[in-house]
């Protein structure tokens, strides 16, 4: 067993904590989404849906709580999707040469960068959950301490797998394209459908059928659904929609994300093995 990926991880983290501007903005951004977008949307949605009758006996969840799970998913999506950019600059300024000329297996480079992205994503997840509490995002309502801990571990696992998947994707693109503009436009192109054709911000029940089908295969939907399973419980209603999560649903989230991450890993390995110095 070799641990060279820890060297790559170390380097990414040194730089993450070095640049306070990057560090602070990456921490503030999710808070801003929640504070501005979240509060604005939840107020209008709650107003619109206040007339929809709720099924008796089903706990009603405020829209902001429902959306909070989506905000985590979205924030993690963007930070991991852009997280691979570091590899593009490393390649562009030939910093990658040093590592590629060393005995470090290429898989370790991808893994090291991936794990640094996971660390950052987990920071952001905790910030959203913490700050969310202050603005009425009511996660883990009525949970015991043990249940809360289990739920948090579950969310961390989902976020980890999801982040690795998108960092592998981002890394493959980064190592293939030549300039930052190209990288930027590809990522923007990818992120749009992933973001909107998902259940991150709103329920997918009202989608046209083909979008609904698409969104069910969307990793963002799998993540948002999984976080809701852990944070909101298995039986709740929001905006008049009644949700029941079964163990099958959470299994689909987990295995779907694992499958996605593995496919992205093989894409990354394929691109990385092609890199010539």
């Amino acid at each position: 067993m070799s641990f060279e990926f820890l060297a790559i991880y170390w380097r990414e983290m040194v730089k993450y904590f070095r640049y306070k501007s990057v560090l602070i903005t990456s921490m503030i951004q999710p808070v801003m989404w929640l504070a501005f977008f979240g509060l604005a949307m939840s107020d209008s949605f709650d107003k619109l849906t206040s007339l929809v009758p709720n099924e008796p006996g089903v706990p009603v969840v405020a829209y902001i709580t429902y959306m909070g799970a989506g905000i985590i998913a979205m924030d993690v999506l963007f930070s991991s999707l852009f997280g691979g950019t570091t590899l593009m600059f490393d390649k562009k300024f030939s910093l990658l040469r040093e590592t590629l000329a060393s005995p470090v297996p290429r898989f370790h480079i991808i893994l090291g960068v991936g794990l640094s992205g996971v660390t950052k994503a987990l920071f952001q997840t905790f910030i959203i959950i913490g700050f969310g509490k202050l603005v009425g995002m009511d996660f883990f309502k009525g949970y015991t301490l043990i249940e809360t801990l289990i739920a948090i571990v579950g969310i961390m696992l989902l976020v980890t797998i999801f982040t690795l998947g998108f960092l592998f994707l981002s890394g493959s693109i980064a190592i293939t394209v030549e300039n930052p503009e190209g990288m930027q436009s590809i990522l923007t192109l990818i992120s749009m459908p992933i973001f909107f054709v998902s259940s991150a911000l709103y329920p997918i029940d009202g989608f046209p059928t083909f979008l609904k089908v698409l969104s069910m295969f969307n990793p963002l939907t799998l993540l948002a659904g999984g976080i809701r399973y852990f944070a909101l419980g298995t039986n709740f209603s929001v905006m008049g929609n009644h949700y029941i999560y079964t163990p099958v649903d959470i299994a689909v989230s987990f295995f779907g994300l694992i499958f996605f991450a593995l496919v992205m890993l093989s894409a990354a390995m394929w691109r990385f093995n092609k890199v010539d110095i």
Binding site: R97, E98, S102, I277
Partner: protein, 329 residues
């Protein structure tokens, strides 16, 4: 081991139909500085890339520190240090962090790593810059840091690809001093250069390489002595006839005609030959415009063996200088 740190036999490498390396064989001995001298595009970088396992070996055989480059690349990688032609430092990390990263990717233990960093900062006079970010270093310091990094793992052989390209002469000379110090510590050095002076000043042995072939190998003195002991540089009113006259003299070993001048290699002590030569030319009614005597330089050696100067190389160098400037910003 046989005392040879590098052994290369019948190495060939092509890019498409272009033969970049053409049947090259050479050895580098333990503890020496060995140089590949030649213009850009001569195949120097290709050889270095094959020896450092960055390029796949196509044909022939190459061993570094006893390991086969083709079949034991990881053992080769653990035996060597590399200073690339292009600067490649992490500008967002400090001097000591750059070294620490290198130690980490080679799985050095923390204690050993820190000790080595101290030693190398001292060797390269970067102790006071230890916490300076890569981007705030001068060009020469960046190169020294790369040198230190190449030595982090105490490699059996250090490869340097054009180590002083684009530097002014003072920076270049300082770099040479550091490289001599590295050699004194027992590290074998393989370097490529297109600077005559660099090869001349630094190397124990030099291979002149041109169009993918090794033209000649030897110590700087051996190469110069092969040309003759001394050299007369002449400009006359009729160079063509002068050349003919001189070629008939016993003490003259060779005469090379340039556009304006003649380079005359003399096998004996020139101080006795020169009056004789001048007398002979004058008697033929040819006017001597300029005469100059000197010891043969690496320049003369190069021209002698390849039949051309390094001028094409200089053009490329200018271009590369620009690229480097862009990168280092």
């Amino acid at each position: 081991m046989t005392g040879n740190v590098i052994e290369v036999n019948n190495l060939e490498h092509s890019y498409g139909s272009l033969k970049a390396v053409d049947n090259i064989s050479f050895t580098v001995k333990q503890g020496e500085i060995f140089s590949f001298l030649g213009p850009n595009g001569a195949g120097k970088s290709t050889v270095i890339n094959i020896l450092t396992t960055l390029r796949k070996l196509q044909k022939g055989e190459a061993r570094v520190n006893g390991y086969d480059v083709a079949t034991e690349p990881n053992s080769v990688r653990r035996s060597i240090g590399i200073v690339f032609q292009m600067l490649c430092l992490d500008h967002e990390m400090t001097v000591s962090e750059n070294l620490e990263y290198h130690g980490r990717i080679y799985s050095m233990k923390k204690k050993e790593r820190n000790k080595r960093i101290e030693e190398l900062l001292k060797l390269t006079d970067l102790e006071s810059k230890k916490d300076t970010l890569g981007k705030d270093l001068s060009g020469g310091m960046k190169r020294r840091l790369e040198l230190a990094r190449g030595l982090m793992t105490k490699p059996a052989v250090l490869f340097l690809d054009e180590p002083t390209i684009g530097f002014d002469i003072q920076t270049r000379m300082r770099m040479w001093e550091y490289l001599r110090e590295v050699k004194r510590e027992g590290t074998t050095i393989f370097l490529t250069t297109h600077y005559m002076e660099e090869a001349d000043q630094l190397s124990d042995r030099i291979s002149i390489i041109d169009h993918g072939k090794i033209i000649v190998t030897g110590t700087s003195n051996e190469l110069k002595n092969k040309l003759g002991r001394d050299l007369i540089y002449l400009e006359t009113s009729d160079n063509k006839r002068t050349a003919e006259i001189l070629r008939s003299l016993r003490s003259v070993e060779s005469v090379t005609e340039d556009t304006k001048s003649l380079r005359v290699m003399i096998g004996e002590d020139v101080t006795h030959v020169l009056p004789q030569v001048m007398e002979k030319i004058r008697r033929e009614g040819i006017e001597i415009i300029i005469v100059n005597i000197k010891k043969p330089s690496m320049d003369d050696v190069f021209v002698h063996y390849t039949g051309h100067g390094l001028r094409e190389g200089d053009e490329n160098e200018k271009q590369q200088g620009i690229e480097m400037a862009v990168v280092s910003e």
